[in-house]
Structure formats: C-alpha cells, structure tokens
C-alpha cells in the first residue's frame, strides 16, 4: 500500500518544488554579459560561471591547506575546507547567475532598499 502511494506523493512534492522554484527564478538573467546576444554571450557566461566555481573550490582548498600547514591538523583542515569551498563555489555560481540574492540583499527585504536592484 505504502509503496503504491509513494510515487504519487513524490510526484506531488516535485510539482510543488517546481512551482516554488519557478517563482524564485528571475524573469530574465541580469548577467553582466546578457546584453550581447548569441554564442558569444553563452561562451562569456560559461567562462564566468566556471571561473566563479573554480575560484570557490580553489580558495577553500588553499585555506584548508594553509590551516593544516600552520596548525598541523592535516588532513582535516583540507577535507573540511575543500567541502566548504565546494559550497562557496556553488553559492558563487548561483549568485552570479541571479538565482540567489547578492551579499547583503535578502529577498525578504528587497522592498526596503529601493537603491538596489
């Protein structure tokens, strides 16, 4: 019985999530390179997003390695900060593609700051 219900339940929850995400997704990308149309914009965006992600992971790894080097906690610093860097990279990518609010600007408060986008 429970097994039969599960797919429907999952389906429903997925539809809900889709709806919630669609509301949060920006109407149009406000990317910096969005003004040029066509292939060039795609390449530019790809370079931008990949550099954001790699920078996040790279900085996390470097921080972890540095902490290990000075505190002698090898390999825990590297492990933890590599994962944190991964998180930061994903955050950077979502931020620069306009899916998450910028630093400081939170969606719940966006009405209070007319100065910002």
């Amino acid at each position: 019985m429970a097994n039969k219900d599960q797919p429907d339940e999952l389906e429903r929850r997925r539809a809900d999530l889709e709806k919630a995400l669609a509301e949060k997704r920006p109407e149009s990308r406000d990317g910096d390179e969005g003004k040029t149309k066509g292939d060039m914009a795609g390449v530019g965006q790809a370079l931008r997003l990949s550099s954001e992600f790699i920078a996040g992971v790279g900085v996390g790894a470097a921080l972890g390695w540095g902490i290990d080097h000075f505190a002698g906690t090898s390999p825990w610093g590297l492990i933890i900060f590599l994962l944190l860097g991964f998180g930061a990279g994903v955050l950077n990518v979502l931020r620069s593609s306009g899916q998450i609010a910028e630093f400081g600007v939170r969606s719940s408060q966006s009405g209070q700051n007319p100065e910002k986008k």
Binding site: G56, G60, A88, G104
Partner: protein, 249 residues
C-alpha cells in the same frame, strides 16, 4: 618568433634595476603599463581640452565613458558610492586601454599576466575591506551573517560566506586574465596556420584562406572581449564596493 603562440607573453628586461636583492627591472610589461596610462590620460585630456558645448566625435567618446561608469556606479552602489568614482573610472580606463593596446600586433598585453590582474583585484578587495571597517567598524562583519537563517546552520553558512568572499578576488582576476590569454593564443594559433599552410604551394595557399577568415573574425571578437572584460571588471568592482558602503542590509 616563428610559430610559438606563447612567445608573445614573455617578459623581457629592458632596464635591469636591482635594489637590495629585489628585482625592480623595467620590463616590457612595465613599459606597456606606462604606455597604457599615458594613452588613457592623453586621450581623455586631449579630447576634452576643446570643451565644446556641442561635443565633437572624440569628445563625446570621453563623455560617454564618463557617464557610462558614473551610471554603472550609481546604479549598483547608490549615491554614497559615488565617492569611489575616480577609483572605478581609473580601473575601467586602465583595463580597457591595456586590453585594446594589446590587440596591436607585436604589442605586449599587460592584462594577460595573472599577477597584474590579481594585483588589481586585490586593490579592489583591499579597498572594500579597509573602507568597510573604517566606516562601519565591526558592523562590517554582518556582511557574512545572512538574516533569516536558522541558528543551527549559522556557523556553517558564515564559513561558506567567508570562503565565498575570499574567492572574489580570485575569480575577478582569473576571469580577466584567462579571457585575454585565451584570446591571444587562439589568434596566434590561427594566424600561424596561415603561414604554415601557404608553405605547401598553391593548394595550401588556397586552403590558408579559411584560417585567414577565422583570424579576421577572431580579431573582431577580441575587440568585443577587450571591452566586455573591462566592463565586467568595473561592474563587479561597483558591486563589491556596494558591500563596503552598505553591509548587512
């Protein structure tokens, strides 16, 4: 020079200078940085010296670049951010002029070296951090604590935000450097095909037309990239300065 696409990025010492074991030599890179500053300064000075009420063609380019950067900064950092206008405008003109100068054949591209772009990015982030702490004291640290996050995950989120903040100068500099480096190497490789194909007689010369067309097209594209990267660098500078002016909203 032959057919080596990397050769164009080599640093050569023009005037060796050494102070206390440190190398302060005047290199071709330094020469082109000086050329960039002189070219940008001379362009802005000469084109605006006539001060026509109805601007001529060149004068309106200067005025457009001023208004372009001014509106970019005002949009992202508000009127408080306008105190950084000289800073942002200098960075924009320097990067733009360096990118454009690099497109001349046999010229050295200053921004194709990561140390140069990283120094520029550190200057930006240093300004953000110093101004943020001077203006808001420890309130600047609120930048790293998002509101409306459950208390349990706050330490994790703060750590991620800090790593994300530290990765900004890296991605800012890597983007500019990688675009310029990749563009110039591509250009050189395609131009190299033209010479090596035309060594194979008539059929080779006929085939060389294809990479020649590519080279012309990529040169056009590089002009777009040169402007685009200067624009992106300036826009991101404005956005980071916005964090320094209004943190923790």
């Amino acid at each position: 020079m032959a057919n080596d696409p990397i050769h164009q990025f080599q640093i050569s010492k023009w005037i060796p200078i050494e102070v206390g074991g440190l190398d302060f030599s005047f290199t071709n890179s330094s020469a082109f940085m000086v050329a960039t500053v002189v070219a940008a300064g001379a362009f802005l000075f000469l084109t605006t010296s006539s001060r026509g009420l109805v601007p001529g063609r060149l004068q309106s380019i200067s005025e457009m670049s001023y208004e372009f950067v001014a509106s970019m900064l005002r949009d992202s950092a508000g009127s408080h951010g306008m105190r950084f206008f000289p800073f942002v405008f200098s960075i924009f003109m320097f990067v733009l002029m360096a990118n454009l100068l690099g497109l001349f054949p046999y010229f050295f591209t200053v921004t194709s070296h990561i140390i140069v772009t990283f120094a520029l990015a550190l200057l930006v982030i240093g300004t953000v951090v110093v101004y943020g702490f001077l203006k808001h004291g420890f309130g600047f640290l609120k930048l790293f604590v998002p509101q409306g996050v459950p208390a349990v995950v706050v330490p994790l989120v703060v750590l991620i935000e800090i790593v994300s903040f530290l990765s900004r100068p890296v991605s800012l500099s890597v983007r500019l450097f990688a675009n310029m480096l990749a563009g110039h190497i591509t250009l050189k490789v395609f131009a190299g095909f033209v010479t090596s194909l035309s060594a194979f007689g008539v059929a080779g010369a006929a085939g060389a037309v294809l990479p020649l067309i590519m080279t012309v097209a990529i040169t056009g594209l590089e002009f777009l990239v040169a402007f685009m990267q200067a624009y992106v660098f300036a826009v991101l500078t404005c956005m980071y300065l916005n964090d320094a002016v209004h943190p923790g909203h």
